[in-house]
Symmetry: C2
């Protein structure tokens, strides 16, 4: 292990064996999320000159499309999927529309809401990023074998339910 490893993410140092297992798990979870996210963000910037939130928008739209959602997503659906506020989505979409990666279409059915969809250019751009993105994730998780990953998924599924509980 390099010195960099020793120093990275020492958010949770100093708890020794003092129990507080929940707190220790939370701090370690946060450290891991930060480490991975930081890598992905830097890689997206260096390789494709795009930010992570914008990539996330493209990603959600591509996923929706691949699930058979031909008409794109509303701002609200995007907001929910990305787990960010509606106001935030407004700004992100604005930027991507300006870059011609997505389009906004008014709906006749409900004129309050708009649908957002990848342009062909946007789809091509996303598809070019998809492979590298997945390989960065694979690299970050390379220390875990298949059994580890499945156990981690199961534990996080439990956590997800418990952490979402009672949140309106």
């Amino acid at each position: 292990m390099s010195l960099a490893n020793e120093r990275a993410g020492d958010r949770e140092q100093g708890h020794e064996n003092s129990q507080h297992l929940q707190l220790r798990a939370w701090l370690r979870l946060l450290t891991c999320a930060n480490l991975v996210e930081r890598r992905v963000r830097a890689n997206l910037r260096e390789s494709f000159d795009i930010t992570l939130p914008r990539f996330d928008v493209l990603s959600q739209l591509a996923r929706a499309e691949s699930q058979g959602n031909v008409d794109g997503l509303t701002m609200g659906e995007l907001s929910q999927r990305m787990m960010v506020s509606a106001g935030n989505v407004t700004g992100l979409v604005e930027g991507l529309v300006a870059d011609r990666l997505i389009v906004r279409m008014a709906q006749a059915k409900d004129r309050r809401s708009a649908r957002v969809k990848l342009t062909p250019k946007g789809l091509r751009a996303f598809e070019a990023m998809l492979g590298p993105h997945e390989s960065w994730i694979d690299a970050a998780f390379s220390g875990l074998d298949e059994a580890d990953l499945k156990r981690l998924l199961a534990l996080l599924a439990k956590l997800k339910i418990s952490a979402a509980g009672a949140t309106p």
Copy 2:
């Protein structure tokens, strides 16, 4: 499970059993981190009218102190522990100094750097938040028993090493 639970954090839906275990684990990790962080942020605001990053500064300083670090931390040490950029710390510290929760002290030894330390007021404020904060975390992790928590800690320890690898 409420409807809110069904809809919360569906970042990873649509992958079915398509393998990509690393990617699925990453998305679920991110979802969990977001869910917990959102709760803590809202609770800190409602109960103590403080933001999470500011609480994090107080927390790091208190932890350093409890580890016997009487002289506080430098900006750089804070930046590393919090896993945020140095420029970010500058602004956070500014705000907390204005609120008289921390103090900045010049160092004779190395005049480039300053040390930051909790004021008595800052320590009292942090101590008041410590208990509630821990109970919020406990609540978020309540779906996991002790064995789960230990397994999760172990898996995240592996991930931490692997995700930190080769990061300068």
